[in-house]
Amino acid sequence: MNRSVTVSDFHAYPDAHGRFADYGGIFMPETLMPPLEELTEAYLAMREDPAFIAEFERDLKYYVGRPSPIYHAERLSKKLGGAQILLKREDLNHTGAHKINNTIGQALVARRMGKRRIIAETGAGQHGVATATVCARFGLDCIIYMGAVDIERQKINVYRMKLLGATVVPVVSGSKTLKDALNEAMRDWVTNVADTFYIIGTVAGPHPYPMMVRDFNAVVGREARAQMLEQFGRLPDVLTACVGGGSNAIGLFHAFLNDPDVAMVGAEAAGEGIETGRHAASLAAGRRGVLHGNRTYVICDDNGQITETHSISAGLDYPGVGPEHAFLKDSGRARYVGITDDEALAAFHELARTEGILAALESSHAVAQAIKLARELPKDRLILCNLSGRGDKDVHTIAAREGIAL
């Protein structure tokens, strides 16, 4: 399925139809097409509007706490004996992950469009918390759709959302997880389209979402690129980031896409191993299909039914992936590898003990890939790993996995 694409400017995507070469697009029911057109038009104007950009940057600085630092994990690097691992500390943002970059941006768009009712889907609850947070910040109504299975697995985040004033709606259809929460949010949107804004949490969904969510997270890579030049006098040799839907990865990658000497590796959730079928590695093991409004790589059966995925990290447990990643894979600009649950857990422990940082299980996939690369590469090479979120939310999952009752 690898297609050869010759690309001169990676920043020229998507085109006016929301296409990243063969991927992306707008595969949605007619009822939602006019509001998507309205959103695209409004957003394209806002992204060029200095007042909007200033408003966004002000909140990133004073509310989110940006810029996030790049930290040189020296003890970990020394222990591995190879290349240097640098961590982009998105875990230090308000609410503890990169997700807030996007929810601030979209809430500002919603407010400017006069939409007061916000809906969102969430899997692990991180995007739900980030959405509930900005709704409280901007005084917007907030309804979060969450699979009934995930609600059971992520009770603390459910309560956090409620503390922030959100209504959490359990979704009992399908597999009762993230993709079904997304379906239900779409059904809400199609029903309440006049006054409702849908804050999608990743670089998936129909155009303009993959572009808009990328733009809001691209601050990560822009900052990192400048920080690398300032702190290290050069660009990194390779980037690593975890990929579920792929918002933190595209956020880091985007500013470096036209730097041909910077390699990029996305770490997908290989779960119990790709060969077991219990994984969420859409790019590494899926096929071309259409899901949630865009053409991308999906995990489905021969009848085209989307199948259940597995990952120890709920944030990577999604059967699709952002269309820009599909494009980067086919063009050869980035490569995507699977990291198993066990590898991610080992990386989590390694980072905790050598650097005193509890990484989110999602981000631990990126750390695991950085560790693999550090072992292979010489000491003078720089690996920049996106530490997209902090691991406090995962302490219960890890304890349960290791047979420890808290």
Binding site: P29, K179, G304
Partner: protein, 269 residues
């Protein structure tokens, strides 16, 4: 290529009758009942049959059709078997148009050219792919080339600019979604539908069928006052879901549809 759909709407127009379009989810409640239910629906007055292709993530559907899809998927129902049922139906009935309704991914995975050939050979007359708006119509070009009509949705939110683009691409008939919402919801506003249908028909002579929210003879008659045809889906699917064998499913299908047919015919002005 002759088009059963065009012929059927032409016949209806000449006879001064309104079209009745039942929707069933293929393979539900029992895979072995689907063809028999289709024949029963025709016997009870169906003018065209919409056969739902089950999909795991039906974002435009309410719980009734979601659950019917889940049951069919659990039985492994996919496009190949559904086309087999259409072929079987065609051995007996060569005049009733069949439109497959569903979502894009099952067709994308089946393969567009392969689907176009197989569906055409089986006797499928049209497809209504909920998540293929007019902008993405090129995606299913091989289906058109094989003589399969592409039916488009028009919604209450559709702008005039979009309506013109849809009219330019539409084949067979236009399916007007009666309200912004999911299938099976009860938000029907007959007066609003009448105005919108009149507006859609102003721009051409493409027949307009109205669906979403039509659930019984009374709502069908109200909608048929302005539309060329009415689509009834969730209410029929819910009725069939309560049956447990072929005989009762067939009986329920006929008993459900016949009074609606009678009411539509009685209301002819």
């Amino acid at each position: 290529m002759s088009h059963r759909i065009d012929r059927r709407f032409g016949d209806l127009r000449r006879a001064g009758r309104k079209g009745l379009i039942p929707f069933i989810t293929a393979g539900d409640p029992l895979p072995e009942a689907t063809v028999a239910i289709m024949h029963a629906l025709v016997a009870a007055g169906a003018d065209l049959i919409e056969l739902g292709v089950p999909y795991s993530d039906p974002v435009a559907d309410g719980p009734t059709i979601q659950h019917a899809s889940e049951r069919a998927i659990a039985r492994g129902i996919g496009i190949a078997r559904i086309l087999g049922w259409v072929s079987e139906f065609r051995q007996v009935d060569s005049t009733t148009p069949i439109v497959l309704m569903g979502y894009l991914n099952p067709i994308e995975i089946f393969g567009y050219s392969r689907f176009a050939d197989a569906a055409s050979a089986a006797g499928v007359d049209g497809v209504l792919i909920v998540d293929v708006p007019v902008e993405e119509a090129e995606t299913v070009a091989p289906l058109r080339a094989a003589g399969i009509n592409e039916i488009f949705l028009v919604a209450p939110t559709t702008t005039d600019r979009r309506l013109s683009a849809i009219r330019a691409q539409a084949q067979g008939f236009i399916y007007y979604v009666s309200f912004a919402g999911i299938t099976g919801a009860s938000q029907l506003d007959t007066a609003a539908v009448r105005d919108r249908v009149a507006h859609i028909k102003q721009g051409g002579d493409m027949p307009v069928a109205v669906g979403f929210g039509v659930r019984d003879a009374a709502t069908a008659v109200e909608i048929a006052a302005s539309a060329d045809a009415v689509v009834i889906g969730s209410a029929l699917v819910a009725c069939l879901a309560e049956t447990g064998d072929i005989e009762s499913a067939v009986a329920a299908a006929g008993a459900f549809l016949a009074p609606i047919r009678a009411a539509l015919d009685a209301s002819r002005s």
